[in-house]
Structures are given as structure tokens and as C-alpha cells.
């Protein structure tokens, strides 16, 4: 990025880009309950969303959102761990009802209320384990201001096209730090839409074709009966015990994401055929890793870098890339490597190591030092 006379450089934060991108891609409703560090998102949403609702708590927030989603209006909320914890059961509900929505989780230091004003990347296990039964919520993670724009758009597109809640994971520094940014980098966005049922046969809300994605009808129309059900249900949306049809419908929630794994995949990979070490990073730690990798390369050290933007379901692609290197370093701002363990397990493994910290950002020097140990 160079400053030429044609550049349009502004001093902005990620929250502004996220909110604008969400609205431009078709998000219609923001349901907010205030919490640091998501408050900037709330205040931009308050200026920008076609409909803005101030919820009295986070359970209500998710339920109101679900109500809007049954009408085909894509809802968004933004929260941090304490609010996300309250939302968990309702996110399960939305996933089971196959309601499109975006939940922005801006991580801060826990446990519990922790330090509201300190950033963290400590909610990976929580997000990964949100859904009972191990089903995954597509989870995208923003690594810089470009991503604030493009991944937010992908979040809306994914929620609509796959009919699922999507988690947009970020953290305090990403949504609050102001940066000079050339607005010319913002690519035009397209509105996403839900695929509607157009048949004349009675509508079966959870019937699907080979895409495994049910077609949508809003509950506000009067041509077909519509059912939304969070309990185990058959294709008609009727509560069932563990009948084969109902269990197949539940299993489809996993198969749906597996089938569309390529559509869900977002990452940035700088390969180096001669490197032994691969650095994996995400969120704002990716910025420290970008800097570390640039310095190492200037010094002549060979190193590859994978920035994970789709965190869950864990893409197979990350394993294909990892297999090319003899040592993997995962840099993340938590105590003992949540994403590293989710990727590679908790068993001792000399080929995998972590750069970790809590209560502060990881410094590029720490990543450089770890790479040098293994090159």
C-alpha cells in the first residue's frame, strides 16, 4: 500500500468496516446488549442498521434475532465472552432451526468478567464446543482491516447460503485500534439473499435437495404452513423422538458443512518450499506474525506462514499445508494454545509448539525467537 495522490486514506477502526460490510451484504437487524470491547460495533450499528434493537440481556438478544430470522431478515449481534455464554443455548436453537444470523464475538481477557479492556484469544474452545453434539458453527476470524470488510461480507453470505448461524471471531485490538487505511482497498459488495421455496407442493421446511440446505419461507407469508423447531424433528419440522428420519435430519447439520467445506474455506498462505517451519496465526496475532515473518525473511531465514481465517469447522486444507513442514508454531493470545490443541491434539508433540501470552499482545520478537529455535 503506497500513498499516491489517488489514495483515499482514512484513520479508521475495524468496527466501522465490519458494520458497513454487514449492512451492504444484506444484514438488516442489529440486536445489541452493550459489552466491552464490542461497544463500538454497537454504536456504529446504531447509526447504520435498518433496524436497531436494544435488548435487555443476551438471551433475549439471540431470541429476538431468531424471531427476525424466521421472517427472513438477517440479524446480527456483537458480544464478548460473558454475553456469548448466555447465548449458548439459543445459538444451539438457531443452529437446529437453521436460522441465518451473525454473532460477532470480540474476545477479551477472562475468566468470567476478567478484564473488560484487555484483549485475548481465549474463547476458541468455547466457540468450538458451543453446540451440543459437537456440531460446528462456521467461524471466521478477522486478521486485519481488509478482513473486517471481506470476511464480514462472507459471514453474511455464508449465513444466508448455508442457513446457519455464523460466528465472526475477533478481539479487542482488531475492533478498537484506529489505523490509517486506504479506502480504495474496499471492494464493492453484493447483497446476499436466502433461497426461497417456489414449489406448489406442500412445503416441507427441512426437506433438502443434494445441496443439503433447506429452502426458506418466511413465517409472515400465507401460502404454506411453516414450522421452525429446535427439538429433534423430521423434514416437516415436527418434533420426533429418535426416529431415523429425524436423526438423519440432525446428522445433516454436520454433512451440510462438510459438503460445502470449500465454500467455507478462507485463509492466507505464504508458502516457502525451502522452509522447515510453518507459523500459524489468526486474529490480531496474525499482524505480529506478518511482521515477524517479514523480519525473518529480511534476515534470510526461511519460514512459511498460514493465516487461518476459517477457524471452524477446522479445514482439512490446514493439515495438507502443515504436512509440508517439519515444525509448526501456533501463535495465539491465550494460556496454553487452544487452537493449537484443537488442531493437533493435546498429546506431547515435539513437532508442534506455541507462542502464547495472556493480558498483552504477542510481540513479533517472540515469534521470531521461536522460529529460530526450530529452523
Amino acid at each position: 500500500m503506497t500513498h499516491t495522490t489517488t489514495s483515499r486514506t482514512a484513520f479508521i477502526d475495524g468496527s466501522r468496516l465490519i458494520v458497513e460490510a454487514l449492512v451492504q451484504t444484506g444484514a438488516e437487524v442489529f440486536v445489541g446488549y452493550p459489552i466491552t470491547p464490542a461497544n463500538l460495533l454497537y454504536s456504529y450499528a446504531n447509526r447504520r442498521f435498518p433496524t436497531m434493537m436494544a435488548a435487555p440481556d443476551e438471551i433475549t438478544a439471540l431470541q429476538w434475532m431468531s424471531g427476525f430470522a424466521t421472517l427472513g431478515k438477517l440479524p446480527v449481534t456483537a458480544t464478548a465472552f460473558p454475553g456469548y455464554a448466555l447465548m449458548v443455548e439459543s445459538i444451539n436453537m438457531a443452529l437446529m432451526m437453521e436460522l441465518p444470523m451473525v454473532v460477532i464475538l470480540a474476545q477479551r481477557l477472562g475468566p468470567a468478567t476478567g478484564t473488560a479492556t484487555a484483549g485475548a484469544q481465549g474463547d476458541l474452545n468455547l466457540v468450538h464446543g458451543t453446540v451440543s453434539g459437537g456440531f460446528q458453527i462456521p467461524t471466521f476470524c478477522i486478521s486485519n482491516l481488509d478482513d473486517c470488510w471481506s470476511l464480514s461480507a462472507k459471514a453474511v453470505e455464508t449465513a444466508m447460503q448455508l442457513r446457519t448461524p455464523v460466528v465472526l471471531l475477533t478481539s479487542k485490538e482488531m475492533v478498537m485500534t484506529q489505523m490509517s487505511y486506504d479506502l480504495n482497498r474496499l471492494t464493492p459488495l453484493k447483497k446476499s439473499t436466502l433461497k426461497h421455496y417456489t414449489g406448489t407442493e406442500p412445503y416441507k421446511p427441512y426437506h433438502t435437495d443434494e445441496s443439503l440446505i433447506p429452502e426458506f419461507l418466511p413465517i409472515s407469508q400465507s401460502t404454506h404452513q411453516v414450522r421452525f423447531t429446535a427439538s429433534t424433528h423430521n423434514k416437516a419440522g415436527i418434533l420426533q423422538n429418535t426416529t431415523p428420519e429425524a436423526l438423519d435430519n440432525t446428522k445433516r447439520l454436520k454433512d451440510k458443512l462438510d459438503l460445502h467445506a470449500d465454500f467455507l474455506l478462507h485463509y492466507h498462505y505464504e508458502e516457502d518450499n525451502h522452509a522447515k517451519v510453518l507459523v500459524i496465526s489468526f486474529d490480531q496475532t496474525a499482524q505480529a506474525a506478518r511482521e515477524a515473518v517479514a523480519i525473518l525473511r529480511q534476515q534470510g531465514t526461511k519460514v512459511a506462514h498460514l493465516i487461518a481465517k476459517t477457524l471452524f469447522p477446522i479445514p482439512q486444507k490446514y493439515y495438507e499445508i502443515s504436512a509440508l513442514y517439519s515444525h509448526i508454531i501456533v501463535a495465539e493470545e491465550n494460556l496454553d494454545g487452544q487452537y493449537r490443541r484443537l488442531l493437533f491434539g493435546s498429546a506431547p508433540n515435539t513437532n508442534v509448539s506455541g507462542v502464547n501470552a495472556i493480558g498483552r499482545m504477542i510481540h513479533p520478537d517472540e515469534i521470531i525467537e521461536e522460529v529460530k529455535k526450530h529452523e
Partner: protein, 426 residues
């Protein structure tokens, strides 16, 4: 023939004699009386015995979580077009109304257009008859066979206090179609508490008991409240704004050049309310006018109005990735809070250049300290700004012209002539 809302009103999924049967049958008759079409009605059912009725309904159905039915119905009601002819009806139990009581109050408060029917059988039927907050004194349950309860919460009073447009408590045996039809016809939020019985647990735990007698002994009254102001008032307007957040007004065009080539990090550390953040923004703007890359990150305690206020600014000719500065090149300290905040950076052995207010005690440090009477010269609120003027002039990291131009756009410029600061620089 009237349109059916139930697939078969004689074949409902409840135990023999269960009070929920009567609620479903009377609901169907009330909707028929009012001339509704089945697909004009959205039933939102809670988790509990009353909520297993979805499959018997030919209207739209939504079946979510225990206690949350009123909340999801709130989202539907708020999102329906203003001219929608849809009727939202919530079926909830006393258990659901206990765990989700806040949702009932909030829906009443917002006047969401819906009718909530509380199936009050005074216990948790589905899970085996445990007591709820609606279990009245003298009513035994399987887990409280001899214990008297704290008495039942009066949900009608609660809903009324929350501003419900219409509230009623009715006797749930026999024909109560007219009462339900009245509630369904209300604009805005209405709640009907239907007193009824769970034959499997309620009757078994209270042999020979008559519902009428229990209600009398517990002094539960059949009442009706209406709130005329709510009934006539419009639903709140949730419309937002439609102007893009990304406009050319945000652009800070390059007008000057700067010599500085390397990455410089500056920590401003002061007290809340003393202009630390706006001084940092001023520095950032000056750098941007000079065509440099800039980042700014603020640090404040949870309560922003007290204690320290710090801001880290990074300026660079090259793009900036990592936005932290654990080892700042410059530290500008304008108050005691700021000094405390900056202390770890002053004592980490790193050699920063420090501008410190004259009122502060110089700490033991490897850094190069410059003492300046900033607070005394321009006042506490402008000390941070003066520290930036001082930094830029001394270090020449940015040009004087760019700083003067940035100041002309500062909110203080109209009140304080720039000479207030320039006079202090010599």
C-alpha cells in the same frame, strides 16, 4: 364450516383430563369466532407438556427453548410488517413463565403485538410435577408433598406493572372461548393466565381437591386489567439510519512530506478527562497529513471517567502490522496516573525518550528524561497536547506546517490560539 386450527380437536397429545386440552380447544374456537385463517396465525410454543401441540396445529408453528417462547415471539412481532394481519399466540407454562419471566415483562413493556397464554397448572408437568413460582400455598406437588410454598407469584400484576395493554386471569375448565377471543382482539400485548390442572401430578398429589376451592383458598382472583394508553399507542419505531459509514469525509489527504523513515512508537500516558486521547489523535492526524502510516490504540480502565488514560501511536513510512509498543521510542507523561501506567515501560531497561510533567517524581530508569512544566504552562487539560507539540518540534519527526494544519482542524482551535502552544516551545 369454520376453518380448523387443530388437526383433530378430539385427539390432543395430553393425558386424560389434562387442563391443556381445554386451552387448545377454546383457542381454536376463539380464532374461528374471530374469522382468522389458520395461516394468519403464528403459534410459538414453549417447552413443557403444553408445547407438544405443534404437530396438531395447522397454523405456522415455532418451537424453541424452555422459557424463551415469549422472547422469540417478540422478535417475530417486532419484525412483522406494520400492516401485517398475522396474529402471534404464545403457549407457555407456569414453568416457562418462571424461568423466562423477564421476557414476559419485556414483551409487555415493548407492547409487542401478541397474546401470551400462560397454562398455569401450578407445577412443572413435563419433568414430573416439581413446584414452580406459581405453585400456591396449600398445593402439594410430588416433590413437595407436605411443604407449603412461598405462595404464587401474581404474573398478572407483574405484567400489568410492566405496562401490558391487556391482562386477564381466567378459570380454565369449561368454556372460556369468549375470554380468549377478547384477548386475541386486543392490539399490542395481551396476557391470559389460565388456571388449570395437571391430572397426572397435580391431582395425584392433592387427592379430592377441586380447582375452584384451591383458587378460593389461595385467594387467587379472576381479574382483568387494561391499559388504555398502551392499547392506543403505536409500537415503538425500530427504524435506523441508512447513510454509509464510509465516506470521503473520513479521508485525510497527504499534504506534506516527512523525513522520518523508521517506525516510531509513542506512548501518551495521562489521566482520564485530560485530553490524552485527543492529543494522540492530533499526533496521528499530523502524521497522516504527512503521508505516513499510523496506528492508535487506547488503554483505559473499565470506568473511562477516572484513573489513567493512555494511547499508543505508531508512525511509519512502511505499512504497520503489529500495533503494540511494549518498548516505545517516546513516552509523554502528563499526570501521576500516567506515570503509574507507564512505569513498567520506564523500568524495563529500554532506553526511551521521556517527556515528563514537572510536577512528577522522576523514577529510576534507563530512559532519557526531559522535565517540562506542561500542566503549569497550559493547564492540566492541554498538557498532553503540549507534549505532542514539544515532541514533534524537538524530534522533527513531522514538519511544523503539518502540525499547524492538523491543529486548525482540532476542536480546540476555535477556543485556543495555536500560539498558546507555540509560545512554550522556545
Amino acid at each position: 364450516m369454520s376453518k380448523q386450527f387443530l388437526t383433530d380437536s378430539k385427539a390432543l397429545p395430553f393425558c386424560k383430563g389434562c387442563g391443556h386440552t381445554g386451552v387448545a380447544q377454546n383457542t381454536e374456537r376463539a380464532l374461528q369466532q374471530l374469522g382468522y385463517d389458520p395461516l394468519d396465525v403464528i403459534f410459538v410454543t414453549d417447552i413443557g407438556c403444553h408445547g407438544i401441540i405443534d404437530k396438531n396445529l395447522v397454523s405456522h408453528t415455532v418451537h424453541g427453548l424452555h422459557g424463551r417462547s415469549v422472547a422469540i415471539a417478540g422478535g417475530i412481532a417486532a419484525g412483522l410488517p406494520k400492516d401485517s394481519n398475522k396474529k402471534v399466540i404464545v403457549f407457555i407454562g407456569d414453568g416457562g413463565a418462571t424461568i423466562g419471566m423477564q421476557h414476559l415483562m419485556i414483551a409487555a413493556h415493548h407492547n409487542f403485538s401478541m397474546t401470551v397464554i400462560v397454562h398455569n397448572n401450578m407445577l412443572y408437568g413435563m419433568t414430573g410435577g416439581q413446584p414452580s413460582e406459581f405453585t400456591p400455598e396449600g398445593f402439594n406437588t410430588p416433590t413437595t408433598p407436605h411443604r407449603s410454598s412461598a405462595g404464587a407469584i401474581d404474573i398478572c400484576k407483574v405484567a400489568e406493572a410492566a405496562g401490558a395493554a391487556y391482562v386477564s386471569r381466567i378459570f380454565g375448565i369449561g368454556n372460556f372461548t369468549a375470554e380468549l377471543a377478547e384477548a386475541f382482539s386486543q392490539p399490542g400485548f395481551s396476557l391470559v393466565e389460565v388456571m388449570e390442572l395437571c391430572t397426572s401430578y397435580g391431582l395425584k398429589s392433592n387427592p379430592g381437591m377441586k380447582l375452584k376451592n384451591l383458587i378460593e383458598e389461595a385467594e387467587i382472583e379472576f381479574i382483568k386489567y387494561t391499559n388504555e394508553t398502551k392499547k392506543s399507542s403505536e409500537l415503538p419505531d425500530y427504524e435506523g439510519h441508512r447513510l454509509s459509514l464510509i465516506t470521503d469525509q473520513l479521508v485525510i489527504p497527504q499534504e506534506y512530506t516527512a523525513d522520518s523513515t523508521h517506525k516510531i512508537s509513542i506512548l501518551l500516558a495521562g489521566s482520564a478527562g485530560e485530553g490524552t486521547q485527543s492529543a494522540a489523535e492530533f499526533l496521528a492526524r499530523t502524521a497522516m497529513l504527512s503521508g505516513l502510516h499510523v496506528t492508535r490504540k487506547s488503554h483505559v480502565p473499565v470506568t473511562v471517567g477516572v484513573g489513567f488514560s493512555a494511547s499508543e501511536v505508531i508512525i511509519s513510512k512502511e505499512p504497520i502490522y503489529y500495533t503494540g509498543s511494549s518498548k516505545p521510542d517516546y513516552i509523554l507523561i502528563t499526570s501521576k496516573d500516567g506515570l503509574e501506567y507507564a512505569m513498567p515501560r520506564l523500568t524495563n531497561g529500554y532506553k526511551s525518550i521521556v517527556y515528563m510533567d514537572a510536577t512528577l517524581q522522576t523514577p529510576e530508569t534507563a530512559s532519557e528524561i526531559h522535565i517540562i512544566p506542561m500542566r503549569e504552562k497550559v493547564g492540566a487539560r492541554n498538557a498532553a497536547l503540549l507534549s505532542v507539540f514539544k515532541l514533534v518540534t524537538d524530534s522533527r519527526m513531522l514538519s511544523m506546517e503539518s502540525m499547524i494544519s492538523a491543529y486548525s482542524q482540532h476542536k480546540l482551535a476555535a477556543k485556543l490560539p495555536i500560539d498558546t502552544f507555540l509560545d512554550q516551545l522556545t
